[in-house]
């Protein structure tokens, strides 16, 4: 019974928690905490169960649930996970759970905050589970709006926004409300960040919706069921091409592919820590996931055709994102741009379209979720303690917060790909796979790893070591259990799966194989390679 409905329990437990929270007054903080922890905890435990009971020998889509939602429109509520969805469900549940603790101290409207977080978390998991295009889109769009609320209600203005008030002739407040100001100059307000993020992602979403509708209509099957469309859908090449482009352009912005990345660092910097964690950690990966799920799965021919272009764009992501990150002076902006850069590695892995690189890319999805979650949680904690994100005004924090420093170093090391962290495994596999197909891009990407090293070293040194800022003598380390628990959990998952990636990789392989098999079966192309380790030397920049 439980196994039959495992996915819907994981998915609806946070929704249920959100509904209960709605009826609890904000003054009962302890009840609000308890409800949020309980219902996200259920999701986390069950998604661990899901991960460990996913049958590696069986492969394919498992834990399938199907309920007809509307015969007329051909929509069914169809859940199921494969080797790609399973780890991402785990990552979403974990980050949601950690997010609850990270925002323990939110003073203003805690209930609404948790409600939002729970809705955001379960919407994300909904996308990773959906096998019906309609519901995939449903949950995707549902995940956009909570971010807007997070940013406008609990966000912060970035980079000297408050100074902007005076230097205009009009009254500052009034001017900041006007449309032109909003669109052009108001770059550092949380409102700008919120609106930019929402409109970017919504615009992407409606483009993708057009693509989904095109698939729905042109197959003539009156179904949104992905598996049915893959098996029986007889689309002409032209339609496939158009649908591929629409869906890729629609979903790639959330994965922050160049040139659609600009919403992301601004948005993360303005968002409260839990929201940044969720968004950088798992929501961003919805882009890659939906591209794999829809584009790769349904349109292998178009995928094979367009991937070289993606391989070019992702190099820009890597180099440009890295260089900009190096120049930032705001902790969250550094992490935000590093996230943009990391998306490039994942896209490189996707573009190479072979077994090892695709597995690596999916592994990287999870790894980056952990690293980003950890780093944003810490950046949020440091902001909470010091009231600043400005790196030069920090310094010597290690004396006051050794535990936080330790976690930050682990997070940074994992993020730049030090062996032992998960990112290392992912990066290595991506490079190994990509070398076969795009040697030039691989060399550039591998060299760009040094940029990653550089900005993480620079940031870590400036924040934690060196001379202590006397103004920051009062800061405290993470000492409460609720402050330490999320950090410990994230560090544990990063290191554990970094050192023992075997189980993880075998789960992912099961998800990757059928997709590559479809791409392999295209006559006349032989892009996909068998899963053998390439024996080219010198493609291993990290070791």
């Amino acid at each position: 019974m439980m196994h039959d409905h495992l996915l819907s329990i994981i998915l609806f437990s946070p929704f249920l928690g959100a509904t209960i929270l709605f009826f609890i007054p904000n003054t009962r903080r302890e009840v609000v905490h308890a409800v949020a922890v309980t219902f996200s905890g259920i999701s986390l435990l069950l998604s661990l169960l899901l991960f460990y009971t996913f049958d590696i020998n069986l492969g394919g889509f498992q834990f399938i649930e199907q309920t007809v939602w509307s015969e007329r429109l051909g929509i069914s509520f169809y859940l199921g996970v494969d080797g790609i969805g399973t780890p991402m469900v785990l990552a979403s549940a974990l980050l949601m759970f950690c997010g609850i603790f990270v925002s323990w101290n939110v003073k203003d409207r805690l209930k609404e905050f948790y409600l939002n977080l729970l809705v955001l978390g379960s919407a994300t998991m909904g996308v990773y589970m959906s096998l019906d295009l309609f519901f995939l889109f449903f949950f995707y769009e549902l995940s956009v709006i909570p971010m807007y609320l997070f940013l406008t209600i609990w966000g912060r203005h970035t980079k000297g926004y408050k100074d902007m008030k005076g230097h205009l002739n009009m009254k500052g407040e009034e001017k900041r409300e006007s449309v032109s100001f909003f669109l052009n100059f108001n770059k550092n307000s949380k409102d700008y960040a919120a609106m930019k993020l929402t409109l970017y992602l919504s615009l992407g979403a409606v483009i993708a919706l057009l693509g989904i509708m095109l698939i729905y209509v042109k197959t003539g099957l009156n179904t949104f069921n992905i598996i049915d469309i893959a098996e029986k859908g007889n689309l002409s090449t032209g339609i496939k091409e158009i649908a591929f482009i629409l869906i890729f352009v629609g979903f790639a912005p959330i994965a922050a592919i160049f040139p659609f990345h600009s919403w992301s660092p601004v948005g993360y910097a303005a968002a409260p820590p839990a929201a940044s964690m969720m968004h950088a950690g798992v929501l961003k990966k919805l882009g890659h996931f939906t591209i794999i799920r829809i584009c790769f799965y349904l349109f292998p021919e178009a995928t094979a055709e367009w991937m070289p272009l993606i391989a070019l764009l992702c190099v820009i992501n890597i180099v440009y994102g890295g260089l900009v990150a190096y120049l930032q002076k705001d902790t969250k902006f550094v992490i935000g741009y590093s996230s943009v850069a990391h998306m490039g590695y994942i896209f490189l892995g996707l573009a190479s379209l072979n077994h090892i690189s695709l597995t690596g890319a999916v592994f990287f999805l999870y790894a980056d979720a952990m690293a980003m979650g950890l780093l944003f949680a810490l950046a949020g904690f440091i902001y909470y303690q010091t009231d600043t994100m400005d790196i030069p005004s920090l310094g010597g924090l290690v004396h006051n917060m050794p535990f936080v420093t330790c976690c930050f170093v682990v997070g940074a090391a994992a993020s730049f790909g030090l062996p032992g962290g998960m990112n290392f495994v992912g990066e290595l596999m991506v490079f190994m796979g990509a070398w076969e197909v795009y040697p030039v891009q691989t060399i550039i990407a591998a060299l760009a790893v040094t940029i990653t090293w550089a900005y993480y070293f620079k940031m870590t040194r400036a924040m934690f070591f060196g001379e202590a800022n006397p103004k920051l003598a009062h800061v405290k380390d993470a000492s409460h259990w609720y402050e330490r628990l999320p950090l410990v959990l994230l560090v544990f998952f990063t290191l554990f799966f970094g050192i023992f990636p075997g189980k993880f990789l075998s789960v992912i392989e099961k998800g990757v194989q059928p997709i590559l098999a479809r791409i392999d079966s295209i006559p006349g192309t032989a892009i996909a390679k068998q899963p053998d380790i390439p024996n080219t030397p010198g493609d291993n920049p990290d070791s």
Binding site: S70, R72, I145, L149, M195, L199, L210, N222
Partner: protein
Amino acid sequence: MTPPTLSLADLNLTLIAPELWMILLTCVVLSLDFACPKISKPKLAYLSIAGMACITLQLISYAIDGTSGTSFGTMFILDPLAIFFKVFILLATILMILGSINALEKILYFRGEYYFLLLFSAIGMMFMVSANDFLSLFITLEFSTFGFYILVAYLRDNLKSNEAAIKFFILGALSAGLISYGVSLIYGSTGTILFQKIAEIQPEASLGLVIGLLFVFIGIGYKLGAFPFHTWVPDVYQGAPTTVTAYLSVVPKAATFGIFLRVVFGAFLGLKADWQWMIVSISILSMTYGNLTAIAQKNMKRLLAYSGIAQIGTILIGMAAGTKMGVESILFYLLTYLFANIGAFIVVIIFQNLTDKDDIEDFAGLNRRSPLMAFAMLVFLLSLAGVPPLAGFIGKVYVVAAAVNQGLIFLVSVALINMVISFYYYLIVVKKIYSLEPKETTPIHIPIPLKIAIYVSIGGVIFLGIWPKPFINAAVAATSVFTDLVLR
């Protein structure tokens, strides 16, 4: 042509029983108000609500039994489509009467007549969605509008209310003139005014016929408030009492759609090539104009007025598709629009009752003063914007699916881009409600009837969003009257 003979046996009173009951109810309400001037006005409201609830049940039983037929010769038709719209009208009227009870305390005169006029217009619209030829179309269209002319001018000391009424009246009269001229041209080219006859004759597209059709469309466009016939909408919405605005923004539009569907699909389906371009262009213009203008609004009622123009444009997409799926999507969309729009206006009504203000600025920090109202507004605006899991999202997907099926890709692209534009202004309101601090911090007390109305609307918006199946089925059943339409 033989003149139709009328005998009582032909009248088939069961078919018009709901309307007859409504007339009785209206008369009772009016005479109670006259006969016992001391009677408390909320009692009249609850009487009307109870009466209409019974009539709704009767209509639902008709729908289950499959009662249908024509009466008054062929002027009046009762079929699933008519029943759908009648239930719609009654539900909306009930909601609005609930929403008006407390607002009326501010109006010092003619409180009893208010309910009478609301019910009177509802009767007009119930006849309207049953109109089966151009003559009854014209009569019922006018019949239903009379009540509104008075209702809009209800705040007789308020200059804006009077201005609104005059605008409304003049443009309404103009549109009536256009419709009657259009009808005469159609009659001239086809020799009949019966929808069904016209469909049987399958007239060739002659110049006179197309111009006649265009005039009818323009007249109906006025009633719908679609661009470029929208000019009265913002002023009337702003000037009229908010309760009337709420009613005006949903119910007459839905009823007009009811008759519009009959004209277009019941009579002129054969001329699809001639009317489709008209609908497509009106739709594109309404959406774009409505959404872009809404961005600049500073008054909540005007914002909702412009968003309403855009919503009408979106609904017209389903019409442009011209398939069964398109009609279903219109019916479903109207349901989502009913709850979301009336709900949003009810929040405005509560706020205005208390503060006499309705600028968007004034709503700042509403969340601090009344979390329920803020949440309700959030839900209604997001539903209007088309965000899952709310009703508006399903409505939009339905409409878009119907249009993509017919290959109207350009129209759909415009609609989708407009969806993003509409996010902007809806979210600005959400931002003000949630993230700013209020100037005044006194909590807002919501009277019970309005609370019920808010909860019903929230429930409707969420239920239609997560379990739309029964409503889609109802729309499919209502659409079955257009037998000639292709499925999708």
